[in-house]
C-alpha cells in the first residue's frame, strides 16, 4: 500500500515527538545455539526492572501462519521458495498485528530473530538476496540489532548436545545429506557466512557469543543504554504509515 502523505506525516510525528518515551525495537539475531534466547530472557527481565513495558515476538510465531508452516514442515513439503514466502507472510502478519501496535503504544519490542534470519537462511538455501529482501518491504529497521556470533562448530556442538536438529533446521532439504547432524554442520556454516555478511551490511552489533552468559548480558545492557538514544529511523516511515492506513481503514471491523 503506497502510504499517503498524511499517514507519513502522522508516523513521523508520532515517533519523533519529544516528551513521550517512544517505542523501541531490539532484535536478537544469530544461528541456533548462539544463546540468543537465554540473553533475550535476561534482557527482558532487566528491562522490566528498569520500568519498560516489554513485548516479545519470536520467529515463525503468528497465530495465523504458523500452523500452515508447521503442517508443511512436518511432511517435509516445502521448497526453498515456499519456505521463504511462508516465513515472509508470518513475519508480515506479526509486524502488523504485534510489532507495530506495540511500538505505536510506546512499548519496547524484543524480536527473538528478525528478518535477517529469513535472509540468512533463504540465501543459504540458494535464493537471491535481492528477491528475498524485497519480500520484506516495506522494511522495518530495528533500533538495535544484536548479532550473537559463534563458529559453526560451537553452534553444532550446542545444538546437538541436547537434541537432533530437525529436517529444515539441518538444511536437509538442500544439502541432500541423510544424517541430520552432518547436514546441520554443513548448512549452519553457510547460514553463518550469510549472517556475517548481513551483520556488516546492516551495521549489527556483534556480540561474541562464546563469552560467558554474564559477560554477554552486561555488554548488552551497556550497548542498549548507549543505543536507545538513537533518533527514530526515517527509513521506517513507509512501514508505519502503511500499517496506520490499514489500521484506520479496518477500525470499524
Amino acid at each position: 500500500m503506497r502510504p499517503t502523505s498524511a499517514a507519513l506525516r502522522a508516523a513521523r510525528a508520532h515517533f519523533t515527538a519529544s516528551g513521550n518515551r517512544r517505542g523501541l525495537l531490539v532484535a536478537f539475531e544469530g544461528p541456533d545455539g548462539s544463546g540468543k534466547t537465554t540473553q533475550r530472557k535476561l534482557f527482558k527481565t532487566w528491562l522490566q526492572s528498569e520500568g519498560y513495558d516489554v513485548v516479545t515476538t519470536k520467529w515463525n510465531s503468528s497465530d495465523l501462519i504458523k500452523p500452515i508452516i508447521k503442517s508443511r514442515k512436518s511432511v517435509r513439503a516445502l521448497s526453498p521458495e515456499e519456505f521463504s514466502l511462508l516465513h515472509g507472510a508470518d513475519f508480515r502478519h506479526r509486524v502488523e498485528q504485534v510489532i507495530l501496535p506495540a511500538l505505536w503504544a510506546g512499548k519496547l519490542v524484543i524480536a527473538d530473530r528478525f528478518l535477517f534470519t529469513g535472509l540468512a537462511r533463504d540465501v543459504a538455501r540458494g535464493l537471491d538476496l535481492d528477491w528475498v529482501l524485497k519480500l520484506y518491504e516495506p522494511l522495518l529497521w530495528p533500533d538495535l540489532v544484536f548479532y550473537f556470533a559463534v563458529s559453526p562448530a560451537t553452534s553444532g556442538r550446542r545444538v546437538t548436545a541436547t537434541r537432533t536438529p530437525n529436517f529444515y533446521e539441518a538444511g536437509q532439504d538442500v544439502t541432500q545429506v541423510d544424517d541430520p547432524v552432518e547436514s546441520y554442520q554443513r548448512f549452519i556454516a553457510r547460514v553463518i557466512r550469510e549472517y556475517e555478511s548481513l551483520a556488516l551490511i546492516f551495521n549489527m552489533i556483534t556480540v561474541d557469543a562464546e563469552q560467558s552468559i554474564g559477560e554477554q548480558h552486561h555488554l548488552i545492557r551497556r550497548l542498549f543504554l548507549e543505543g536507545r538514544q538513537r533518533p527514530w529511523s526515517d527509513w521506517n516511515a513507509d512501514a508505519v504509515a502503511e500499517w496506520l492506513q490499514q489500521a484506520r481503514n479496518g477500525a470499524g471491523r
Binding site: M1, R2, S62, D63, L64, I65, P67, I68, S71, S79, E81, E82, L85, L86, G88, A89, R92, H93, E96, Q97, W131, K134, L135, E137, Q246, N249, G250, G252, R253
Partner: protein, 179 residues
C-alpha cells in the same frame, strides 16, 4: 529406408486470469480442449487458503500483502508439483488463475507494482495469456477464488460496497492488462 521422426508434443503454459473463479475455470477448460492434452492448475492447490479459512478470528485479519505472499507460496507449490512437471513431459498446462489476477488485486489494494513484480519473479512467463471479463452483476455474486476470498477477509474492506469496489477495481486493472 526412411525413418519417421517421432512427433514431440508441444509443451505450453497458458494463463487464464479474471476475478470470477467459475468463469475462469470454464475458460481454462475451453483453452485446454481435450483433457488428454494436459491439465489445469488451480488456485490453492497447496491448501494454504483452505487452512486460512478455518483459522481462529483472534489470529487477526491478514493484510493484502500477507495474502499475496501466501498466493505466491501457493503458486510456487503449483509450479513445483503441477506446472513444471507437466511442461517437462511435453504437456499443456492451463494455470487458472496465474500471476495477473494476483497482481491486479495487489494494485487494487494499493501495493507498489514494483513489489508485486519482484514477488512473482520466480514464475515463468506464460506463452498464451487469456483474460476473462464478466459483468458487474456476476462479479457481485462471485465469492470463490482468490479475489473473492481475499476481499472477504481484508480488514480494510468493511462493507459490501467496499468489497464490490475492490473486486471492480481488480477487474478494471485486468481489463487494462488485456489491451
Amino acid at each position: 529406408m526412411t525413418t519417421k521422426k517421432a512427433r514431440v508434443p508441444k509443451a505450453e503454459l497458458i494463463a487464464v486470469d479474471g476475478v470470477d473463479a467459475a468463469a475462469v475455470l470454464a475458460d481454462a477448460r475451453a483453452a485446454l480442449g481435450a483433457p488428454a492434452r494436459g491439465g489445469i492448475s488451480r488456485w490453492d492447490a497447496s491448501g494454504v487458503f483452505q487452512e486460512l479459512a478455518v483459522a481462529d478470528e483472534t489470529a487477526g485479519a491478514p493484510s493484502a500483502r500477507t495474502l499475496l505472499l501466501l498466493y505466491a507460496a501457493d503458486l510456487a507449490f503449483r509450479l513445483r508439483w503441477q506446472i513444471r512437471p507437466a511442461l517437462a513431459e511435453g504437456r499443456t498446462v492451463v494455470a487458472a488463475p496465474y500471476v495477473e489476477t494476483a497482481m491486479a488485486f495487489g494494485r487494487a489494494a494499493g501495493l507498489d507494482p514494483k513489489w508485486l513484480t519482484n514477488l512473482f519473479r520466480f514464475a515463468p512467463r506464460a506463452r498464451t495469456r487469456r483474460f476473462v471479463h464478466t459483468s458487474p452483476a456476476r462479479r457481485k455474486k462471485a465469492r470463490d477464488g482468490f479475489v473473492g476470498f481475499s476481499c472477504d477477509r481484508l480488514a480494510a474492506v468493511r462493507t459490501k460496497q467496499e468489497r464490490l469496489r475492490m473486486v471492480d477495481q481488480t477487474a478494471a486493472l485486468l481489463r487494462r492488462r488485456d489491451r
